[in-house]
C-alpha cells in the first residue's frame, strides 16, 4: 500500500553507460519481486490452501462458466449475422446501453438528459485506466492537475499503479477499514476527506469492496456524498464484481444511482467478469455521468482519442454474451438464478466459518464475517498472524488479512477454521 507522496514505480537505477553493440539494450530493467502466488506454488505441503485468488471458485475449487453463458456462446458462434469487423472504439452499443442501465437503473434522469457516456473497455483495470487518463487530461482548474487521488486503506494494490501510469503521481489514502472495530470507521474516513484539497479524486467502492468486503451503508453514503459535494471532490466509483453482493446488478449499484440522483458528476468502473464467469473475456465498462449535456460531445471525442492510442477498440466476444443476456427477459431469469447460487454459497461459507470459530472458542468477535458481502472478507488478522498462517499452516491470505471466501470448501474448511483459530490465539 502506498504511503502519501511516495512513488511506487520505477527504481531510480542509473544506466550502465552507453549500451553499445555488445551489451544488452535494457540493462537497467530489473526483475520484479515474487508474488504471494509464486510462494504458494513453491510450497510443497500437501494440504496447502490458497485463499487470495481473484476469481469465484466452485465447491470443486475451480473457476467455471455459467451454464447460460456456455449456451449463449454456442448460439453466438453459429450466428451468421455476426461479422468480423472492427467494432466501434467505445464497443458494442447494446452492451454499453445495458451496462449503463445496470449501473444507473432504467429510469435515470441523467440518461434521459443525455449526460451519460458509456465506454466498453477490455476489463476492469482498463476501465479504471481510461477514467484516470480522462481525469488527468481534463481537469479544468489547472492544465497540469495531477492529483491527489484518494484510495481506501486498504485497496486493490494495483490501483495506485494504474493512476500513476496515467500520469497522476500524487496518490493518498483515506481511512477505511479499522482492524479493531473490524469494520469501516466512518469518523476517520470523514476526517481524511475533510482535509482533502478541492478537486481531489476520491475512489470509492460501490459494493463488494476489495479486499475487505466491508461496504458503506446507505446512511454512510448520504453523509459521505454531502462532504464530497461540499468540498468539491470528484467521486470515482468501483464495481469490480457487480451483482455478487446482492445477486442483483442494479441493487449492487445503488451508490451510483444515489450519487447521480444528487446531481453529482462521477466516473464508475464496472466489471462483468465475476457475475458472468467471463474472466477470460475482459468485459469492462466505464461510465461517465456529466453535469451538463453540452459537455457530452467534447468529452466523448477526447475519450475516443485516449482509447485509440491505448487499445483502439475493445474485444467483442464477452460483451456480446453480456448484452444478449441482459436484453432478454428469459435469459435474465436464468442468469439471476445462477448468480443467486453463487451469492448464497458465499454467504453460506461465511456463516459456516463464523460458526466454526465460535465452536472452537476463537477469541474476539467474528460478526464481521457475515456482515461483509461479496467474494472477499477481511478477517482482521494482523501481519504477523497472516505470516503465521502461510508459513506454519500453509494457508495463504492477502497480506492485509483478507481472503476469498469462495476458495473455502468442504475439503479445506476444517484446516482453514483451525488455522485462523490458532493464529488468533497464538
Amino acid at each position: 500500500m502506498s504511503r502519501p507522496g511516495t512513488s511506487l514505480d520505477e527504481k531510480g537505477v542509473e544506466p550502465n553507460g552507453d549500451p553499445g553493440v555488445h551489451l544488452p539494450l535494457f540493462t537497467s530493467a530489473h526483475p520484479e519481486t515474487t508474488t504471494l502466488l509464486s510462494a504458494y506454488d513453491k510450497d510443497t505441503h500437501t494440504g496447502k490452501v490458497y485463499l487470495a485468488g481473484r476469481e469465484y471458485y466452485s465447491e470443486e475449487g475451480k473457476t467455471f462458466e455459467l451454464r447460460l453463458v456456455g449456451k449463449i456462446k454456442q448460439q453466438l458462434s453459429a450466428d451468421p449475422t455476426l461479422r468480423p469487423e472492427y467494432p466501434p472504439s467505445f464497443g458494442l452499443t447494446e452492451f454499453t446501453r445495458r451496462a449503463t442501465e445496470a449501473a444507473l437503473g432504467k429510469s435515470s434522469r441523467a440518461v434521459v438528459e443525455n449526460r451519460v457516456l458509456g465506454i466498453q473497455t477490455p476489463g476492469f483495470t482498463a476501465a479504471v485506466r481510461l477514467g484516470a487518463e480522462l481525469l488527468r487530461h481534463w481537469h479544468d482548474v489547472c492544465p497540469d492537475w495531477c492529483g491527489p487521488v484518494y484510495l481506501s486503506s486498504p485497496c486493490d494494490d494495483s490501483l495506485p499503479g494504474i493512476f500513476q501510469a496515467a500520469g497522476i503521481q500524487d496518490i493518498r489514502e483515506y481511512y477505511y477499514w479499522d482492524d479493531r472495530q473490524r469494520d469501516v470507521c466512518l469518523e476517520k474516513l470523514l476526517e481524511d476527506l475533510e482535509r482533502a484539497p478541492e478537486r481531489s479524486v476520491v475512489v470509492l467502492s460501490a459494493s463488494a469492496h476489495y479486499p475487505t468486503g466491508a461496504d458503506l451503508s446507505q446512511h454512510q453514503w448520504a453523509v459521505i456524498t454531502q462532504l464530497i459535494m461540499r468540498r468539491r471532490l470528484f467521486p470515482f466509483l468501483l464495481l469490480p464484481a457487480q451483482a455478487l453482493c446482492s445477486g442483483d446488478l442494479e441493487r449492487d449499484a445503488w451508490p451510483v444511482q444515489y450519487c447521480a440522483s444528487q446531481g453529482m458528476e462521477l466516473l464508475c468502473a464496472q466489471s462483468f467478469s465475476h457475475c458472468f464467469g467471463l474472466y477470460g473475456a475482459a468485459v469492462g465498462h466505464l461510465l461517465c455521468v456529466l453535469k451538463q449535456n453540452c459537455l457530452l460531445s467534447s468529452v466523448r471525442s477526447q475519450a475516443d482519442e485516449v482509447v485509440r492510442s491505448l487499445w483502439a477498440e475493445p474485444s467483442v466476444g464477452g460483451a456480446h454474451v453480456v448484452a444478449t443476456v441482459l436484453s432478454n427477459p428469459a435469459h435474465l431469469v436464468e442468469w439471476h438464478g445462477e448468480v443467486r447460487r453463487i451469492v448464497e454459497r458465499c454467504m453460506l461459507i461465511r456463516n459456516i466459518l463464523k460458526e466454526r470459530l465460535r465452536l472452537l472458542g476463537t477469541p474476539g468477535c467474528w460478526d464481521h464475517l457475515t456482515q461483509q458481502g461479496g467474494l472477499y472478507c477481511c478477517t482482521g488478522l494482523n501481519g504477523q498472524q497472516v505470516e503465521f498462517l502461510s508459513q506454519r499452516r500453509h494457508v495463504y491470505l492477502l497480506p492485509t488479512g483478507c481472503l476469498n471466501v469462495s476458495a473455502i470448501n468442504g475439503r479445506n474448511l476444517d484446516c482453514v477454521a483451525e488455522s485462523i483459530h490458532l493464529a488468533a490465539i497464538g
Binding site: K73, P84, Y279
Partner: protein
Amino acid sequence: MSIFSDVPQAPPVAVFQLTADFRQDSHPQKVNLGVGAYRTDDCQPWVLPVVKKVERLIVEDDSLNHEYLPILGLPEFRSASASKVALGDDNTAIKENRVGGVQSLGGTGALRIGAEFLRRWYNGVNNTATPVYVSAPTWENHNSVFTDAGFKDIRPYHYWDAASRGLDITGLLDDLENAPEHSIFVLHACAHNPTGIDPTQEQWKKIAEVMKRRNLFAFFDSAYQGFASGSLEKDAWAIRFFVSEGFELFVAQSFSKNFGLYNERVGNLTVVAQDSDSLTRILSQMEKIVRTTWSNPPSQGARVVSKTLNSPELFDEWKGNVKTMADRVLLMRDQLKAKLQALGTPGTWDHITQQIGMFSFTGLNPKQVEYMIKEKHVYLMASGRINMCGLTSKNIDYVAQSIHDAVTKVQ
C-alpha cells in the same frame, strides 16, 4: 461547475469519418475504398473458414480453463506468434531462448506496450527525449501511440517519393545516417500502410547496415504478414534478416487482418533480446506495464490463433485462407491497372501492381480525391490511399472510370 467544462472538441479520426460519410450516402453506385479491412468480391467481411472451424472447436471444448489469462497472455499463443509467424520455427534466436511475447489488444495494444516500455527503459531511464521516427506518411495512430506513451520528439523519416511514386531510399538512408544515436525507428515489416511500397531486400540490407552502425532501435509494425504476398515467410523477410544480423528489436504483430479477427483484438509484441536473462528482465517489466493498462488480456481471439498455429493441418489451412485473400487483392491490382491503361488514363499506373498489401497510394491529389467523393461517390482517403479490398468485379469498372475522370477533369 463541471470539471469537464473546458474540454475541447477533438477532431474526428479521418478514416472513420470517411466511413460515416459513406454510410450516409444513398447513391446506388457508392464505393468505400477507405477502411482497412478485407472484403470479399461481394463486398462482405470474410470469416476465414479455418477460424469458423476453430471457433466451433473452442465452444465445444469442455476442458477449457475459465480463469483470467496470465498478465502476459496465453503462453501457447505468445510462443506460436513468434515461432510460427514472425521468426519461423527454426530461428536461432528462439533456440537460444531470447525471444518472448506479450499478448496485446491488437496491433495497437502491442505498439503501446512496446512504446511504454521503451520510454521507461530504453536509452536511459524514463528518457522521453529519445527521438522516435515514423515514416512519411505512416498510419496516423503511430504518432498518437508514441506521444501518449510519453515521447516528446516524434519525427518523420523520408519514405514516399511522390514524383516517382516509389520509395525515397536516398532520403530514408540519409535520415538514418543523421538521426541521433539510439533513436527509435518504426518500420513497417511489409505492405506499408498507407503507400503499399516496401523496400526491396537489397534496400533492407542497406537500412539494417546503417541502423546497426548508428545504434538505432528497430520497432517493426507487422499488421499484414501473409496478406501482402500470400507467403508468411516472404512477408517476414525483413524482420528475420534484422534478427539474423543480431539486432535486439520489437515486433508489434496484429492478427486482425490475416485471421479476420478484427473484433477480438488479437495482437502480440514479440521481443527479441540479446540473451535470456535480458529477456526475463524485460518481460517482468512488461508485466508491470500491462498490469496498469488492461491487466489480463481477452482470451477468445488468442485461443483461436493459438489453436490454429499449433496444429499442422489447421496451420496449413490458415495459410491457404490467407493466400486466398492475398490473391484477390493481387487480382484487383492487376485489373485496376489494366483498366486504367485501357482507358488511356494519363500518367503511369505501374505503381498499382508494384505496391503490395491492402493499400495503394494512387497519387491522386486532394482536389481529385474530393471530386471522387463528391461527384463519383467513391470514398478514399485525402492522401489518395485506397483499400484494394473495396474493389470488386462489380465496381471496378466504375472505379476505373471515376479515376480516369478525376485525373482528366481535375488538376
